[in-house]
């Protein structure tokens, strides 16, 4: 390469290093802030000491009340970790689906995972299952919905993306209708409001147990998407071209669908429907790091984590009663999406 180009390239890498440093450090800063911010005042120093005592067996003399330690360890910590994981999962699966469908407007719920999970959760609530049962039902039905979509779309040993989109629409509509039936027949005083609140999405009830169950599958699937990230570039050139480049398109697609579905289904089963994250964050990240999925997918994980952490903090601190997370992500997400659409004139070309 010519010397001038090399210099330009060097400047760019220096700039992008700073950018990446910010992208990667930001979620950890917000995470830490989330632990001491809130109605129950605990100082940052106390947070560090509580953590050191609880996780590393340190012996700082408590300057705090017992309930403060409880709030930090059992409420704020799992909630903040979950917020980060859900944000990372929804955003990266949105980016992966957009690459696979060759369409930057696609949401991670396009294959019916949210409709299936909503139905499952509503069923759990109607049957008065304990919270773990409701989560399990939501998770299982999220997976079932996507599996039905996949098999409907599978023809002649391949799964054309157009067939996937259409099958996803059909399956979503079907599960939504089933959900309506449940809502229609649910007891008005108790169960109908429970279903409605569940659908609004919230991290309010997340505890350490939820974290223990979900952290490993979420991390495995995030790593899975990260491994596939460069191949998503090739897949986004179209199935036929990707095959001519030696890519097993069907395997990559199945990989993306499995990882994304486990991520979204886990997210939905634990904190309900949180819309507009999987669309907005990949768009925003494309502006930051460009369209290359090798950079885009990790960027969406970090930025998505930061975003949900921020929005969840707003949810619990903006008003006296907590605002459901799903409402706030939509209120912020829809106008931001509209702004990005206008700014880029509808396309990313």
């Amino acid at each position: 390469m010519a010397e001038l180009q090399k210099q330009a390239h060097f400047r760019e890498t220096k700039q992008s290093r700073v950018k990446w440093a910010i992208i990667m450090v930001l979620p950890f800063v917000i995470f830490f802030a989330s632990l001491f911010m809130g109605r129950y005042a605990v100082s940052p120093k106390e947070v560090v000491q509580i953590f050191a005592n609880y996780f590393f067996g340190a012996n700082f003399t408590p300057t705090w009340e017992d309930s403060a330690a409880k709030v930090i360890i059992q409420v704020r910590f799992p909630r903040a970790v979950m917020a980060a994981l859900v944000g990372a999962g929804l955003s990266s699966s949105g980016a992966a689906f957009q690459g696979m469908f060759q369409n930057p407007l696609v949401s991670p719920f396009i294959l019916g995972v949210s409709a299936g999970a909503s139905f499952g959760a509503a069923m759990g609530l109607v049957l008065s299952l304990p919270s773990i049962g409701v989560q399990a039902m939501a998770f299982v039905f999220g997976i079932v919905a996507v599996a039905i979509t996949y098999f409907l779309a599978h023809i002649y040993k391949s799964t054309p993306v157009l067939m996937l989109v259409l099958s996803g629409t059909v399956v979503s509509a079907f599960f939504q209708a089933l959900l309506q039936i449940l809502k229609f027949t649910a007891e008005g005083d108790e169960k109908l409001p429970a279903i409605t609140f569940w659908l609004m999405g919230s991290l309010g009830s997340v505890g350490l147990n939820d974290l223990v169950i979900s952290i490993i599958p979420i991390i495995i699937c995030l790593i899975g998407l990260w491994i596939l990230s460069w191949r998503i570039n090739v897949l986004s050139m179209g199935d036929r071209e990707a095959r001519s480049l030696g890519v097993h398109t069907e395997r990559i697609k199945v990989g993306i669908i499995i990882f994304s579905t486990v991520l979204t289904s886990t997210a939905v089963s634990i904190c309900g429907i949180i819309g507009w994250v999987g669309q907005v964050i990949p768009h925003f990240c494309r502006m930051l790091v460009g369209p290359d999925h090798k950079k885009l997918i990790p960027a969406t994980m970090f930025v998505g984590a930061s975003y949900i952490l921020i929005v969840d903090n707003l949810c619990r601190q903006l008003t006296a009663t907590e605002i459901p997370l799903g409402i706030l992500t939509a209120i912020i997400g829809a106008p931001v999406f509209a702004f990005l659409l206008r700014k880029t004139k509808g396309g990313w070309n």
Binding site: I227, W230, R231, M237, R243, S244, G246, V247, N349
Partner: protein
């Protein structure tokens, strides 16, 4: 010369119904430049897809380097045969260099991404083709002709033994058509084996040393363009009378025009 691609007694049908074409025989040697011509719907793209490994024959065999095409894994085939499909727009504005670098995919294991050496190779190929200035430009924002050249560069990154072109100049304007045809001629001059389908009879004279005329049901004629490109054969191929002219300026240049009065 060794046969690189051999189509033997091949017949094709969709879902076991009527044959699209039958008993097709074609042998392509190293360094050959083959142009397949035929009317719309005669099955030349189907034949193309069979050689590309996308479709399976109903009868007969296709051997590549002496081995049945079905025995190739998808990556092995991508290392042996490069395919340049018609250019199309993409959803994301990857740089042209990034698109060219995708040609290294068959050489990467599942966990690998392209290395600096792969990037340098991609850039080197673009330099050689005279399109290095496009390297940092978004693939979605360059002209159709330039996109086609980028796709050719990507295919060269696969270091294949032969390259298949599916109507490489369709949708392109006059200059861009010339640009692509010049690139094909250069590749052929360097010894690359080329198989292309085309709608333009002129391409047969311009680049091929072997021309295949396809009609309904199979091959009408094949041989050197001088042997095959006769008014009679072209009339059979396209179902319209054709006049062939020899250029007054260049003895080796031919062009043909349809008999408009017949249409």
């Amino acid at each position: 010369m060794a046969k690189l691609i051999e189509v033997k007694d091949a017949s094709f049908s969709y879902h076991g119904k009527d044959y699209i074409w039958q008993n097709v025989n074609l042998s392509v040697e190293q360094g050959d430049s083959v142009c397949i011509l035929g009317a719309n719907g005669c099955g030349k793209t189907t034949l193309f897809n069979c050689i590309a490994g996308n479709f399976q024959l109903a009868k007969g065999a296709i051997n590549i380097d002496g081995k049945p095409i079905g025995d190739y894994s998808i990556t092995e085939l991508a290392k042996t045969i490069g395919i340049v499909y018609q250019e199309h727009s993409v959803a994301f504005p990857y740089t042209s260099l990034e698109v060219v670098r995708m040609g290294r995919t068959p050489y990467l294991s599942a966990f690998q991404t392209p290395s600096q050496a792969d990037t340098d190779m991609a850039y080197g190929i673009m330099e050689e083709m005279g399109i290095a200035h496009l390297a940092e430009k978004p693939y979605s924002r360059i002209s159709g002709g330039q996109r086609q050249l980028v796709l050719i560069a990507r295919t060269l990154c696969q270091t294949p033994k032969a390259i298949l072109f599916d109507e490489p100049t369709s949708h392109l304007d006059f200059k861009n058509q010339a640009l692509v045809m010049k690139t094909l001629k250069n590749l052929s001059a360097k010894g690359m084996t080329i198989i292309m389908t085309s709608h333009s009879p002129a391409h047969a004279w311009q680049v091929s040393n072997k021309t295949v005329l396809m009609g309904k049901g199979g091959i009408i004629a094949q041989g050197t363009p001088q042997q095959v490109m006769t008014a009679e054969n072209l009339e059979k191929t396209y179902d319209v009378r054709v006049k062939i002219h020899r250029s007054e300026l260049d003895d080796a240049a031919f062009f043909c025009e349809p008999a408009f009065e017949d249409l």
